[in-house]
């Protein structure tokens, strides 16, 4: 049993197209297995990822398949782990490091932002590491197992940051992250692990390039720009509005750094109204950057205030009524979208 079992109450399906149906979690595992098979340089590092299969069982079965030389259980030391991965990368490996929860990435922060991010600019040395960070709330896990802290890294030159919202992207972006010659922080959403299913294209077909947003729903009146857990919520809200005869576009950023500025601007130029949604705290979040890009480069096209819906500026609270009040969801998105449509 895993820690989050039983917490994923409803199961959604997302994505049509071809491919094998997988949960979001299976898609992540599939990407790792695919890359471990394909390239002997790929290896995994993390706490309890081997024998135990990871706190969420994402790496389950991989140590049996690839051995303890490639699926490495480490001491509990995130800062060292990320530095060690960097050193391994200097020797030709493509390490994938698991943070047990995204919350613990702050323990390894120094090595990511100061060392891994800057080597290539400073002395031309690439750092092809991937850091998997299981983030986000909704699982009653309190302030230290629910964080969405991607904005810290969205500000750091030299890093890439991705945050898949569908099983297909979970696989496709992880493969791209592993092959990318730069340090990539891969935010996977715990709340989607077992609650989201979808068709996942296999093989090389399924690769999703870093830096490209996806139009999840096409619309004319308003663009909802979001990523990660909030994509499904936004789609629910958009579908409800569609029933009511409104035409909503949903843009899934997929990559947080570098942002797909073209896709953002193109959509806003079309609809003229934009609602930015994320699970992370509002102030200083990624939404601010998106809003600023729009306010600078699509100013003439705006028909209403750029609106943000995000978590309020508090730690993630534990008690269910507090967490429910804290976390954006379809209902809150619907309300915000209605208000903006009425503007």
């Amino acid at each position: 049993m895993t820690w989050d079992q039983g917490l994923h109450k409803t199961i959604s399906t997302i994505g049509d197209g071809n491919g094998r149906e997988m949960t979001y979690l299976e898609a992540i595992r599939d990407a790792m297995r695919y890359e471990l098979q394909r390239d002997p340089r790929v290896l995994l590092l993390g706490e309890d990822i081997g024998v135990y299969g990871g706190a969420f069982k994402v790496t389950q079965g991989l140590i049996e398949e690839f051995g303890a030389q490639r699926v490495i259980d480490t001491p509990m030391a995130e800062l060292c782990m990320i530095s060690v991965a960097t050193g391994m990368a200097f020797q030709g490996f493509l390490p994938v490091v698991e943070m047990q929860f995204a919350d613990f990435i702050s323990t390894g922060f120094d090595s990511i932002v100061q060392f891994a991010a800057t080597n290539h600019y400073r002395w031309g040395q690439a750092v092809p590491i991937t850091i998997r960070a299981p983030g986000g709330g909704g699982l009653r896990a309190g302030p230290f197992h629910s964080q969405s802290n991607e904005a810290w890294f969205a500000h750091v030159p030299g890093l890439k940051v991705v945050a898949p919202a569908t099983p297909a992207d979970a696989r496709g972006l992880l493969i791209s992250a592993i092959r990318d010659p730069n340090p990539v922080i891969y935010y996977e959403t715990k709340a989607l692990y077992r609650s989201l299913k979808g068709a996942v294209p296999t093989g090389e077909e399924g690769i999703v390039p870093i830096g490209q947003a996806a139009q999840r729903q096409v619309g004319e009146e308003l663009t909802i720009i979001t990523y990660a857990a909030m994509v499904v919520e936004a789609l629910h809200a958009a579908q409800q509005l569609q029933v009511e005869g409104r035409s909503i576009e949903v843009l899934d950023l997929r990559t947080i750094r570098p942002l797909d500025t073209e896709a953002i601007l193109a959509s806003v130029r079309k609809t003229g109204k934009v609602l930015i949604v994320h699970e992370a705290n509002r102030t200083g979040g990624v939404g601010g950057e998106v809003a600023a890009l729009i306010a600078e480069h699509a100013f003439e096209y705006l028909d209403g205030p750029i609106t943000r819906l995000a978590a309020p500026d508090t730690p993630v609270p534990y008690s269910p009524p507090l967490e429910d009040a804290y976390r954006p969801n379809a209902a809150k998105i619907l309300a915000a979208a209605r208000q903006l449509l009425a503007y």
């Binding site: 049993m1 895993t2 820690w3 079992q5 706490e47 309890d48 024998v51 135990y52 706190a55 259980d73 480490t74 001491p75 509990m76 030391a77 800062l79 060292c80 047990q100 929860f101 919350d103 613990f104 702050s106 323990t107 699982l139 009653r140 896990a141 309190g142 302030p143 230290f144 197992h145 309020p312 500026d313 508090t314 730690p315 609270p317 534990y318 008690s319 269910p320 009524p321 507090l322 429910d324 009040a325 804290y326």
Partner: protein, 325 residues
């Protein structure tokens, strides 16, 4: 050196209460009443109770997730703890922080635990440093685990305490595993306490399932600290008798190891010792267990009747008000 009967009776009560509360938590989790995960500390009673009983009323301590006994000994009631587990407004953190986290209350000298291990260790060092600056004969105690010993922060805390010769007691709970990771994959030494020498402080390895041993070592360290002789590192060897958290079936632990340690259960050992000294018999034990269950029934009722926090309070208290004028 034989411990006085009074102390043993106290210890016995706290250790039994700790275990019963822990079992109650497991039970409530099975009933899906607990919010989120649940951490059991079974096997750790002698350490948390023994170390906490060695402290004075004005001393301070930062227990970890398996030191339920220390919370109780310091005066955090089962009421508040169970309300915490259920995410209620009367929980120690008023529903803001989860299960064993954030159960801090400086009225009882307790610093709220955070997940990031061993984050509270250097905070306790800071409190010990403050005691020296204020000229107060108080002691700070911090817990960390075999897993936490791999974190650089444990090194920084030990080194800082030693350099300033602070009244600090480090309790390292070596329970053989950090989640699924056995100590042998965490370090290449037999004893974490052997590191004490490298900081210039005494180190001791004790049997963490022997209340007297833990209490003696902790008491000696506390007295040493209080008299200005600086910090001590005590490594308590024990075994985590449950999974890392309740979802974990511990398939990675050899069953023989668990059986071996089950023979050394800290509570049964204390009870055997008390029986030998005629301090306990079946009737007395039974009375105690009944008393504890009654106490916990009341605590559970209190917790279940405690309301959930009002969502309108969501953003309250992010910042402290007022100031130091």
């Amino acid at each position: 050196m034989e411990l006085p009967p009074d102390l043993l009776h106290q210890a016995h009560y706290w250790m039994r209460l700790t275990r019963a509360l822990d079992d109650r938590g497991t039970f409530l989790h099975k009933q899906s009443k607990i919010v989120g995960g649940y951490f059991s500390q079974i096997g750790h009673e002698a350490i948390s109770v023994g170390a906490a009983l060695a402290l004075g009323a004005d001393d301070v301590v930062a227990p970890m997730h398996r030191d339920l006994g220390a919370y109780l000994v310091r005066g955090i009631t089962p009421q508040r703890i169970l309300a915490q587990y259920l995410g209620r407004v009367d929980g120690v953190s008023h529903g803001r922080d989860g299960n064993i986290h954030g159960m801090g209350d400086l009225n009882y000298g307790i610093v709220g635990f955070i997940s990031h291990l061993p984050a509270s260790l250097p905070v306790m060092v800071g409190m010990a440093h403050a005691f020296v600056l204020k000229g107060e004969a108080r002691v700070a105690m911090g817990f960390y685990g075999d897993g936490g010993s791999s974190q650089g922060l444990s090194h920084e805390a030990l080194n800082w305490a030693a350099t300033f010769r602070l009244p600090m007691v480090f309790i390292c709970e070596n329970n053989q595993y950090a989640y699924s990771t056995p100590v042998a994959r965490q370090m290449h030494v037999a004893n974490i306490a052997d590191r004490a020498l490298g900081y210039g402080m005494p180190g001791a390895v004790v049997d963490g399932n022997d209340f007297s041993a833990v209490y003696h070592a902790a008491r000696t360290a506390v007295e040493r600290a209080r008299s200005g002789e600086g910090p001590t590192l005590i490594e308590c060897k024990t075994m985590r008798m449950r999974g890392h958290a309740i979802h974990d079936n511990m398939a990675y632990v050899p069953p023989a190891l668990l059986e071996e340690w089950a023979q050394r259960d800290p509570i049964l050992r204390l009870e055997a010792h008390m029986r030998e000294r005629a301090l306990l018999d079946d009737a007395a034990l039974n009375d105690l267990l009944v008393r504890i269950e009654t106490e916990l029934d009341a605590a559970q009722a209190f917790a279940e009747q405690s309301p959930y926090p009002d969502p309108a309070t969501l953003t309250d208290g992010v910042y402290a008000e007022g100031g130091f004028l």
